[in-house]
Subunit: 339 residues, 2 copies
DNA sequence: TTGAAAGCGCTAACAG
DNA sequence: CTGTTAGCGCTTTCAA
């Protein structure tokens, strides 16, 4: 029932090959031919069968994006940026969620579904410390979004995590804060985003000659609003602090909520800085200071890396890109609104 | 280079058909055969070519979800629910954004990309008032997420919009508010979500014997935080009000921010209710009262409708489902915290 | 510049 | 219970 190249060729009085050429804008053909073919396509309502094209050419024109949870605003904004970058190369995006679970991540990487796409953009969470025999048997290229996974010879695209955290803490110190808490550490982890942000935090304290107090560093599981709220409750019970660096904005928002509930004013009593610059930081009360990563750069680079690898097994050694970050000072840490 | 059914068949010493059967768990075969085939699959690392399967069977196992903007938390939560529902039927989800633009929506519906999927879940925004020769030529089934599009004979899945808005306004009235503003109306529109929520708002006022004051009803474009903030600025300049129903949570959050800036306390001076129950409403200060739709019900029903239509052109007349809503009273409108 | 023919890997008849 | 055969619609040699 559906219209095929064949039907169009017949209607236009040319060969099937010519129609294929015209459709894809490849090869060469006269203007007259193109016009006839275009007319036939329009009239019959022809649309190429992408499965057939994919089977024949080995390319589907689809990449998949694996994130822990699309409801996390950072990943929603990342997905938006990735879709925009992908569209620029005529690529569609299949979305999958891992829930940050190691086993789900492995399953997603190994499963048959990977056969449906030309390449994978993978925002790793559960596997940050590396996987078992990971890169084996994965049929198509993978680009990691975030810090490199130990043992994986894949490209990765990340951001200046340590520098961002360091700048944030330096800003809090400049503001006169001395007991600065950190929210979102993962002490078991030696690698990955959390480890780097913690390193930046420690570096800034060290530079200021302030000792490291483990009691001010709180581990949480998922980096969600509720985890941030929970972690802050522990912090509030445990001791006193006048500054807080949350390793992402969602936790910072949860934290501000708890601080408010516990009678501490932000920023008067506690100055808060987050990480990611998600949209709602501009509308929270008070507006949240944050470290903003160059998301478009990240997405565009990751897609470019992936395209580079698709259909080219010999594309050379793994590449790395670290996107810039920028500290955005808003009300939650501004000395001005303390008055 | 990739392993095919053929290779597996040869290694297992059976026919290609038998391997196909085993892979899909269809047909019948002895346990011994299954074991031999499974061993060969494992050893060779066989994975089915989904493009070939799709070409042959006419089903790709992928549906697409079109939303205006994934950065809008409501759509992120909807996408999450849809992916969960789809996974239960072994379906993958391709995500696309329309920016709420009519032309982009049409393009998405008509474009070749639709050939890549078995069906489309479409959250309409630009086309709420209907399209031109819309349902023509769209090759695969469409289920509309939201209010029905005039002139389209598609299934749709929506929620009790009018009832939700009405309940919210009734609650504000019960709380003693008398000048209740509405944020997010689209006066040009006779159909769609905005029109229904406005109708519910008017109904509740009418039931209470309160006249309708157009000055309290603000039109905005996109239902975003910034649009909510901007609309509220206009409202604040224009006159006095002690209650506010925002037609979604994002706008409500933007509104609370502006109210705070203008020196009005929420809920003491203005009680605010939103719509959607996005996660951050629980963490805003004050926590936002809202109308919560049954999102899982919506996603599951929409996916079920779509599956029903896939590969069955004669599946009968369009169906409609209206999911329930529930008013969640939190701090932003609670009389308790006014003291 | 265009045409003919082969076959990508798989599933679905139909046999055996 | 298992094997053979014929394409799905397209791209890609290779010729003309």
């Amino acid at each position: 029932m559906p219209v095929t190249l064949h039907d169009v060729a017949q209607a236009a009085g040319v060969s099937i090959k010519t129609v294929s050429n015209v459709v894809r804008g490849q090869g060469s053909f006269s203007d007259a031919t193109r016009a006839r073919v275009d007319a036939a396509i329009e009239e019959l309502g022809y649309r190429p069968n992408l499965a057939a094209r994919g089977l024949r050419s080995g390319r589907l024109g689809v990449i998949s994006l694996i994130v822990p949870d699309i409801r996390n605003p950072y990943f929603a904004e990342l997905a938006d940026a990735v879709m925009t970058a992908a569209a620029a190369h005529d690529l569609l995006v299949l979305l999958e969620q891992s829930r940050g679970d190691r086993d789900v991540e492995l399953e997603l990487l190994r499963g048959n579904r990977t056969q449906m796409v030309d390449g994978i953009l993978f925002s790793v969470l559960g596997l940050v410390d590396g996987g078992p025999e990971l890169p084996e048997g994965i049929p198509n290229p993978v680009v990691v979004l975030g810090e490199p996974v130990p043992g994986w010879a894949t490209d990765h695209v990340t951001m200046r995590n340590a520098e961002g955290a360091q700048a944030a803490v330096r800003h809090l110190l400049d503001d006169g804060r001395t007991r600065i808490a950190a929210l979102g550490a993962l002490h078991g982890r030696r690698t990955g985003t959390a480890a780097l942000r913690l390193a930046g935090y420690r570096q800034a304290l060290a530079d200021a000659g302030i000792g490291y107090d483990p009691a001010l560093v709180v581990d949480v599981g998922v980096w969600s609003r509720s985890a941030g709220a929970e972690g802050t409750r522990r912090l509030v019970r445990a001791g006193d602090f006048d500054g807080l660096l949350a390793f992402n904005d969602a936790m910072a928002l949860g934290a501000m909520r708890v601080l408010e509930d516990s009678g501490r004013k932000v920023p008067a009593d506690v100055a808060v800085v987050g990480f990611d610059d998600i949209d709602e930081t501009r509308y929270s009360v008070p507006a949240l200071s944050t470290v903003k990563p160059a998301l478009e750069d990240i997405a565009a680079t990751a897609v470019a890396y992936l395209i580079d690898r698709i259909g080219r097994a010999d594309a050379g050694p793994p590449r790395a890109h670290r996107a810039g970050v920028e500290l955005l000072v808003r009300e939650s840490s501004s000395a001005l609104s303390r008055r």
